[in-house]
């Protein structure tokens, strides 16, 4: 579908995120670089006496893909809101790149199930929006937006408006826009949940291909265990009432991964069984 995505994303990022700290490709922790996201004993409630999140300790390394999974109401989306600075923890500490989060966190970008594309803008102008906000000249931002659209397989759709795109194309456009943001951390809250199974697998594969060449840290929320195993470097399983971390597991499946085939691999089946047994106890 797309050629050499890793190299092309790296070029796109070099053009857009000059000054970002270098991140080692391997999984080894680099002690000189602070975690991209660090939550220390974080609890949160909406002021109604019900604790939504309790004693969350989570550290996400730069460039890592961490998948949060758990039953509905376990506080996955609330946790993303905290990282984005939309809400503030009731107690505990939250750091991004070693800096406490106060107010809206400008080092993150958010992609949700319902996209936030502007209906009056073409795909090209929607993709270029983060660059326009940063004051990049029109010719330059269009050049880079075209590159991002090519990477996400939308070259032929650059003049179309969002309502003229299918659900999968809209998701790819939102992905292209995320690529052009200078955010070091990307938060995704079930971004492909509304798509049919085939489109979802194709977009998961695209996401993997893009992110392996990207320096962005990804925190991904899903309900789907297979999706979590296929995409994540690490899976964090959460329980509800109150929302807390039950289990963390490294995904020891080498890259590049084929999303459609990952689930048949023995390592994936073993991990699935383990995660499901914990998740099942939560659903009872």
């Amino acid at each position: 579908m797309i050629g050499k995505p890793r190299q092309r994303v790296a070029e796109l990022k070099r053009a857009g995120t000059a000054g970002s700290p270098a991140v080692p490709d391997d999984d080894g922790a680099d002690t000189t670089i602070p975690p991209a996201v660090q939550l220390t004993d974080v609890s949160f409630d909406y002021g109604n006496g019900v604790t939504t999140l309790q004693n969350i300790d989570l550290s996400v390394r730069p460039g890592e893909v961490v998948v949060l999974i758990g039953p509905s109401g376990c506080g996955k989306s609330t946790l993303l809101d905290l990282v984005a600075g939309v809400s503030a923890p009731t107690t505990g500490g939250l750091l991004c790149d070693g800096v406490p989060v106060r107010g809206l966190n400008k080092s993150v970008t958010y992609m949700t199930q319902r996209d936030t594309l502007l209906p009056w803008r073409t795909a090209l102008d929607n993709a270029a929006l983060p660059l326009e906000i940063r004051g990049v000249r029109k010719a330059e931002r269009h050049r880079r937006a075209r590159e991002a659209l090519a990477l996400t397989g939308l070259s032929d759709a650059e003049k179309r408006r969002p309502h003229q795109l299918s659900g999968g194309m809209r998701s790819r456009l939102a992905l292209a826009r995320v690529l052009l943001s200078d955010a070091r951390i990307v938060l995704m809250d079930e971004p492909f949940a509304a798509l049919d199974a085939l489109r979802r697998v194709r977009l998961q594969q695209l996401l993997l291909e893009i992110w392996r060449g990207s320096q962005q840290t990804l925190v991904y929320v899903t309900h789907d265990l297979n999706e979590a195993i296929a995409l994540g470097d690490r899976i964090v399983l959460m329980g509800s009432h109150p929302g807390r971390i039950l289990l963390e597991r490294q995904v020891d499946i080498p890259h590049p991964r084929n999303v459609a085939r990952v689930r048949t691999m023995p390592e994936a089946e073993e991990l699935y069984a383990e995660l499901w047994s914990v998740l099942e106890s939560q659903l009872r």
């Binding site: 984005a84 400008k106 209906p119 929006l129 983060p130 408006r161």
Partner: protein, 279 residues
């Protein structure tokens, strides 16, 4: 070269299908024309003369109305009056739209809502026609009075539309723009101004025909130098039902044209952003 000029049979069939009028629609048009012709014939037959059902002093014959309308169009007087009416209407819109926008923005703040909210609600409840005496005292027998009446009326249409538009802003989009680093003016320019356009389109669709009607009414009640309402008033005062009816017909036609143009514009806008488009 020749090949490019000759269209394919499939394309020709598509074009033919596009231009072929719907038979049912044809029937509707023909029925309407026949019904209108019947009404006009009855009107022509039973008005005027001794013992007529329709008194000619109140309602002229269609032939006389048509003749008067032709005369008014030929001497151009009616277009001058239309120009005056539309100029007053435009001025009222120019005054009321920014005022409505500012008021909507103010009442979006908590303090603005507390202070201005009840005042706006009370003023909206006041029958605007009843204020005409106040406006005469304020601005005299002049076009200013017309403008005040029309502006006061349409201002509320725009105010409530702007307010609804601001309330309907998608906070996820605002948050996403802020995360991209957008400043408040950038959010206003890139999102808010465009997002409230559908509300402005709907408000305009309602406000302009309403403003036109109120302007004609104001010209009837507060006659000035020119305007369609002034013209209508003069012919009525002079007991000239033919020209008076001709002006009335002209007003109806103008109102229909305005409504059709605004409807076309609103539909085109809706199509451009995919409203009502199903995939």
């Amino acid at each position: 070269m020749t090949d490019t000029l000759i269209s394919s049979p499939a394309a020709a069939r598509r074009r033919a299908a596009r231009w072929q009028p719907d038979a049912r629609w044809q029937n509707v048009v023909v029925t309407r024309i026949l019904f209108a012709a019947l009404l006009l014939s009855l009107w022509q037959a039973y008005s005027g003369g001794k013992g007529a059902v329709i008194p000619e002093v109140a309602l002229s014959k269609p032939s006389e109305i048509a003749s008067s309308l032709g005369h008014l169009i030929a001497n151009g007087g009616i277009f001058g009056a239309l120009g005056s009416t539309l100029a007053a209407l435009a001025l009222a819109l120019v005054i009321s739209i920014p005022f409505a926008a500012a008021l909507a923005l103010l009442t979006m703040t908590r303090a603005g809502e507390w202070i201005l909210g009840p005042i706006v609600t009370i003023l909206y409840a006041v029958p605007k026609v009843g204020l005409i005496t106040v406006f005469i005292l304020m601005a005299g027998f002049s076009t200013k009075t017309h403008v005040l009446l029309v502006a006061t009326t349409v201002m509320f249409v725009y105010y409530y539309s702007f307010q609804q538009g601001l309330r309907d802003l998608d906070q996820r989009v605002v948050r996403s723009l802020r995360l991209f680093g957008a400043s408040a003016p950038q959010i206003g320019y890139l999102y808010v101004l465009r997002a409230i356009v559908p509300n402005v389109v709907v408000a305009t669709r309602v406000a302009i025909p309403m403003a036109f009607g109120f302007e004609v009414f104001a010209e009837l009640r507060v006659p000035t130098a020119s305007g369609l309402g002034v013209m209508l008033n003069q012919y009525t005062q002079n007991l000239q039902p033919g020209p008076a009816m001709a002006v009335l017909v002209f007003i109806i036609v103008v109102a229909c044209v305005i409504d059709a143009l605004l409807g076309y514009w609103a539909a085109r806008y809706a199509k451009s952003i995919g409203v009502g488009v199903t995939r």
